[in-house]
């Protein structure tokens, strides 16, 4: 019983690493871990309903983007025996304005363009670009450096991966705090504080 309550109390709020810039107007619900140098714009939504979300470093999550770890459609939220699955997002990804991602595993250096829609059973490796307004809902692993574009979701492979948006990230990390309030980051503690009796 103790362990259960510990687990529940362990992470009710988002764990934001130092160096990440997360605006107060963004909506973060559930167990979310955000890595360093990640920028979360206002009105972005990261919702961990059916399990925790772990976001790596150097990601750029723009306005009205929705990253949601939700229950699959045929399973009711209250049913027993549903293991919470963790959604992992790697480093240097870009979630452009208005996109929606439910994919459980996203690698590094991917770009999900505006109004794209990723299903739950997709796995992005690295260097993938999901074009604007493309809805991809298949159950597959997208190979590296794939570009999905067009109204028919055509695919092609590009020879080089998209560049990480370091310039843009640096710019935003300087400018955003001038105009928005930021969410508090968690200070990294080197030693475990002893529990007082």
């Amino acid at each position: 019983l103790n362990k259960m309550s510990d687990k529940q109390n362990a992470q009710k709020s988002a764990k934001i690493a130092a160096g990440a810039v997360v605006c107060v107007e963004s909506e973060i619900r559930g167990e979310v871990t955000i890595g360093a140098r990640t920028v979360v714009h206002p009105k972005a939504r990261i919702i961990a309903e059916a399990g925790p979300i772990v976001i790596g470093e150097g990601n750029l999550i723009e306005e009205q983007a929705l990253i949601i770890n939700s229950y699959p459609e045929n399973i009711a939220p209250d049913s027993e025996g549903v293991e919470p699955k963790t959604m992992t997002i790697g480093i240097n990804n870009v979630f452009e304005v208005g996109c929606m991602s439910q994919a459980l595993k996203i690698g590094d250096n991917n770009v999900i363009e505006s109004k794209a829609d990723l299903g739950r059973n997709m796995i992005l490796t690295s260097g993938c670009i999901i074009g604007a307004c493309c809805q991809v809902n298949t159950c597959e692993v997208i190979p590296e450096n794939t570009v999905i574009f067009g109204s028919g979701c055509q695919r092609r492979v590009q020879t080089e991966r998209p560049q990480p948006q370091t310039l843009q990230l640096d710019f935003l990390m300087k400018i955003l705090p001038n105009y928005h309030h930021m969410k508090k980051t968690v200070k990294t503690t080197s030693a475990v504080t002893p529990a007082k009796n």
């Binding site: 670009i129 574009f149 067009g150």
Partner: protein
């Protein structure tokens, strides 16, 4: 606003060479013939060429030389979007001191839609932003040019002989410029588009040109006939067993957009120059007046002359002109040859409907006197400035799954405000009204059981 949002609901019948039914928004109105014209009963003429991305005008002769392609802009071979030039900084050794390196700008082409870059096909980065990109040469260009020259000469010779025969026959009469057949021959080998479309009564300058050509000594162009080969290259042995690399295979559309090479592999898809678009002007075939003439400047979407039907013809009983207009609706009689599409009988109001003129200031003029038309409430549902709503009774004839269509004729008076200047005799009435009749078909939608 059926004209904008549901264009196919109200169709007007155009009496041209073919009977065409189309919505008013696609029709033109020739005010000299006082008739509706559709795109099929006007002649289309090319006004000017321009590039859709850099909006640069190009004179027709230059366009023909460059095969109607822009010199600066490229199309992505993968998705046919416009390519944009991007720059990167690369370290390059200084010419004076090879050990030090400075940053130099290198340019490459990239597509914003499918992320294709010129580096994908192995094209090296250029040091100039524009003008450095060349299309690969077609190895067959020389042979093709020689063949074209030979056939052009052949066509000219045939045309000369044919017209000589025609002249000899028609000596007693006025000689006509060209026969229809010679025009087709000319068109076949592309000798020139100016030679087509001889207007009736135009001077016969082309015959003078023929006699000049006879005087020149013509070069005899000989071509070698194509040689047929007995042996064909065999297919590679692993043709059936080799696994296909799907991203490398080009689609038919990508392949056929480059008819010179038609590459099967995506790593040989080179970008092509962008195709030019044209601005066209429309001319009524009967009276030879211009119906639509766009501005020359590619950035301007306005027209110098624009006789669009919506501005002249009555539009679902909104009065587009500024005079009071009288409208009579007449149902189609039995056996009317134009009445083929209607599936219901319609009873239209028999009285004449009066529409007020279009007054642009009416919305803002609060003190205006209310219009005093005595409207029969059984006929007129509402009236607002230059619009009127009226009742019709529809009796569907068949129990169909399709739409109910009714047709009737609208008869209204039309004043030609810009009539051609005629010498006025003793003070004519400024403009006379003429009565126009249009056959209208109205699609009312499906029957709800």
């Amino acid at each position: 606003m059926a004209s904008l949002l549901q264009p196919d609901r109200v169709l007007y019948l155009v009496h041209g060479e073919k009977k065409i039914r189309s919505p008013l928004s696609t029709l033109y109105f020739c005010r000299y013939c006082s008739e509706l014209r559709s795109l099929e009963c006007v002649s289309h003429e090319v006004d000017s060429h321009y590039c859709p991305s850099c909006l640069e005008n190009m004179p027709s002769a230059e366009a023909k030389l460059k095969k109607n392609r822009c010199a600066n802009c490229f199309d992505c071979p993968c998705c046919m979007h416009t390519l944009s030039t991007r720059a990167t900084n690369i370290p390059a050794p200084l010419p004076d001191d090879p050990s030090k390196t400075t940053m130099k700008k290198a340019y490459y082409l990239a597509c914003g839609f499918c992320r294709w870059t010129s580096r994908d096909v192995g094209m090296a980065d250029k040091s100039v932003a524009s003008g450095g990109w060349q299309e690969p040469d077609n190895p067959h260009t020389q042979r093709i040019n020689k063949l074209i020259e030979y056939y052009q000469q052949l066509a000219q010779r045939e045309k000369l002989e044919r017209d000589r025969k025609k002249l000899a026959r028609r000596r007693p009469y006025m000689p006509l410029a060209f026969s229809q057949h010679t025009i087709h021959v000319v068109e076949k080998y592309g000798l020139g588009t100016r030679l087509q479309r001889q207007r009736p009564g135009a001077p016969i300058t082309s015959l003078a040109g023929l006699s000049l050509k006879e005087g020149e000594d013509q070069k005899e162009i000989n071509i070698e006939p194509a040689q047929a080969l007995d042996e064909v290259e065999p297919l590679p042995e692993d043709c059936y067993t080799r696994p296909i690399n799907l991203p490398e295979v080009t689609s038919l559309r990508q392949r056929l957009l480059q008819p010179d090479f038609q590459p099967a592999g995506a790593s040989q898809l080179h970008p092509k120059h962008k195709h030019l678009l044209i601005k066209r002007s429309l001319r009524c075939r009967k009276c030879e007046h211009n119906l639509s003439k766009p501005e020359f400047n590619p950035t301007s979407i306005k027209f110098k002359i624009q006789l669009v039907a919506e501005c002249q013809v009555l539009l679902t009983l909104t009065n587009p002109v500024e005079n009071i207009t009288h409208v009579t609706l007449v149902g189609c009689e039995e056996g009317d040859p134009e009445d083929i599409n209607s599936t219901a009988k319609v009873m239209v109001p028999t009285k004449e409907l009066v529409l007020a003129g279009k007054d642009a200031a009416a919305d803002y003029d609060e003190l205006a006197e209310p219009q005093d038309f005595q409207d029969d409430p059984d006929v007129v549902a509402f009236r607002k400035s230059n619009k009127i709503g009226f009742f019709i009774k529809v009796v569907p004839q068949r129990e169909e799954d399709g739409d109910v269509t009714v047709s009737f004729k609208i008869r209204h008076d039309f004043r030609n405000l810009a009539a051609p200047i005629r010498p006025s005799e003793e003070g004519d009435a400024p403009t006379e009204a003429i009565w126009l009749t249009h056959h209208v078909e109205l699609s009312l939608g499906p029957i709800i059981a």
